[in-house]
């Protein structure tokens, strides 16, 4: 049974470029300022977390998410400030710690690190890393980050970074530890690794049925047990779009999510998204699209199915207008989240045949 009182709801943006009403695009700078505005809105509405992604591509505005989160910190009170994700493999764990510890100070302990290998790879050549070291880079840097997170003197040596000898890293946080998640895309190795380090897990479900991940929950539990590590409620992040009218939501989402996926597909060689594919994703897959009731039913179903502790909706994919983005956040906070909680606490969701 889902613990409704402790359920968390977040929104995440990858920093997509915002569109004007006439379809033209805003600048990256304007898009960044809009995210800060949205962070403020989300906090006022009582959303638990905002996550901001790190990308190094022309179609996204944010390459330095902690800076954006710092601005959000200054205009908010309660919302947690997360990255979605920090590409640890091509970063320096010492810098990662320092930036987040600073953000944590600025925000009264609201910083949340989400570490991942990243689904994009632009940062590798940019920072001088070799993609063929993809696995080794993440493994090695995670070991170092894990030591830094303990906020004690660090002695460490590895292949990809100069050694540290009894080195202190500053600032120390007030809680003595940065809250840390590992973002997972569906490789079983990743979920075992998260369990081994005793970190919280957030799974990016960007295609297909959430049910597919049920065995992964078992794997996480078994792995945590094997390594004698704590088990935390699991979080999921998926794409979505909410509007007052269901059909409007579907059309806006199709146009924007398709544009977004197809543009990425171009560089990766996958075929453009078909309408059939999109419809399938919105009906039974991992796009949460529609009016508030439709989206609430689907989110509730996923939370129940995977016994989640947190659900993050990725918003703003493609090029959406300010009105579309802000209305979606409002509907999510004021209609969807309360409705999801209601469904889950009345058990209505269990018999709901969608």
């Amino acid at each position: 049974m889902v613990d409704v009182n402790n359920l968390e709801f977040g929104i995440e943006t990858f920093g997509d470029i915002v569109a004007n009403e006439d379809g033209s695009l805003k600048t990256a700078a304007e898009s960044i300022r809009q995210i800060v505005r949205e962070g403020e809105l989300a906090d006022q509405y009582g959303i638990n977390v905002i996550g901001v992604g790190e990308h190094h591509r022309p179609d996204y505005s944010v390459s330095s998410p902690e800076t954006v989160l710092a601005a959000i910190a200054a205009v908010t009170k309660n919302i947690k400030l997360a990255t979605a994700v920090t590409v640890l493999s091509s970063d320096d764990p010492v810098r990662v710690y320092e930036r987040f510890a600073t953000l944590d100070g600025l925000s009264n302990g609201r910083a949340q690190v989400m570490l991942g290998r990243g689904s994009f790879t632009e940062s590798f050549p940019l920072f001088g890393y070799d993609l063929t070291d993809y696995d080794d880079l993440f493994n090695e840097k995670l070991v170092l980050y894990d030591q830094l997170r303990k906020e004690k003197p660090v002695t460490w040596s590895g292949k990809f970074r100069p050694s540290l000898k009894a080195q202190e890293v500053y600032p120390k946080t007030e809680k003595g530890e940065l809250e840390t998640y590992i973002g997972i895309g569906g490789s079983p190795e990743s979920i075992i690794r998260a369990a081994r380090f005793g970190y919280k897990v957030i799974i990016a479900i960007i295609g297909g049925q959430a049910e597919r991940f049920k065995p992964y929950m078992d794997l996480y539990h078994k792995a945590a047990q094997k390594f004698d590590m704590p088990v935390y409620p699991v979080a999921v992040h998926s794409h979505g779009f909410i509007a007052d009218d269901k059909n409007e939501a579907v059309e806006v989402a199709f146009k924007n999510i398709k544009a977004n996926f197809d543009r990425i597909g171009l560089t990766r060689g996958w075929a453009p998204m078909s309408r059939e594919q999109f419809d399938n994703e919105t009906k039974v897959g991992s796009f949460y699209v529609g009016d508030p009731e439709t989206v609430a039913q689907r989110i509730a179903k996923t939370i129940q199915l995977l016994d989640l502790g947190r659900f993050d909706l990725v918003y703003g994919a493609g090029n959406q207008t300010v009105a579309q983005r802000e209305r979606m956040i409002e509907l999510y906070a004021t209609k969807v989240i309360p409705r999801v909680k209601e469904i889950l606490s009345t058990k209505e969701g269990e018999n709901h045949d969608h």
Partner: protein
């Protein structure tokens, strides 16, 4: 020889999905990862209970049909002798994000499966399972005759081997569009309108039949000097 035992090299997303489908179809399944058995044991017993986690040599020796489901840049890590006399499915593609620069992995004037065949000289390579996303493979598998059944492209130079693999694909839950030319595997690689798509038999066949009219087909034709 009837195919009863399936050996999967690669315990990543694709390998595990294929292991699950093969178990469901009633095959005996062995699977190996890149490291020691202990590295994949927990994953295999949790995600595909019934499959045996093992090492490459054992998986290959004790299987009637082998599936290569590893990054293309890593097939060189397998001793080609091990696969002598074996029927092998190549489910791999060149994928720049994992494999690195194309020229370092492949020579420009042939296709990836031809190079896999050239490396594993003593085996018979058939290409399939490479063009559909792993979650589609998992979710779209259907019994024969089901209305919404999807199809996979199956191609290889040895017609007997292609027929066997096509039958296997059928038991795994997919219709088949069959060619008898290993180099045609390029038709379904990244960049092709078929890569990442999940189509029924007719739609898949239409694109294959008119491949030279697709943008990708034109590009492939332009880069192949001898055609």
């Amino acid at each position: 020889m009837t195919i009863k035992r399936i050996g999967i090299i690669g315990a990543g997303k694709v390998g595990i999905v294929l292991a699950g489908l093969a178990l469901k179809a009633g095959y005996e399944v062995r699977i190996s990862g890149s490291g020691s058995v202990s590295k994949i044991e927990l994953t295999i017993e949790t995600l595909v209970p019934g499959a045996v986690a093992s090492e490459n040599a054992d998986v290959i020796a004790n299987s009637d049909l082998i599936i290569l489901a590893i990054p293309l840049s890593r097939y060189h890590n397998i001793d080609p002798q091990l696969l002598n006399g074996k029927l092998v499915i190549d489910a791999m593609n060149y994928w720049w994000e994992t494999d690195g620069i194309r020229e370092e992995v492949l020579t420009p004037d042939s296709t990836s499966s031809e190079q896999v065949q050239a490396y594993f000289k003593g085996s018979t390579i058939v290409k399939t399972f490479n063009h559909m996303g792993y979650h589609n493979l998992q979710e779209d598998a259907r019994p024969k005759g089901t209305k919404d059944r999807k199809a996979l492209f199956v191609t290889g130079n040895n017609s007997e081997a292609v027929t066997k693999v096509a039958q296997f694909v059928d038991t795994m839950g997919f219709d088949q569009v069959v060619h008898y030319h290993l180099a045609d595997g390029i038709m379904t690689e990244p960049g092709s309108p078929l890569f990442g798509a999940s189509l029924n038999y007719q739609d898949l066949k239409n694109i294959i039949d008119h491949f030279d009219q697709t943008e990708f087909g034109k590009k492939v034709a332009a880069s192949t000097h001898h055609e």
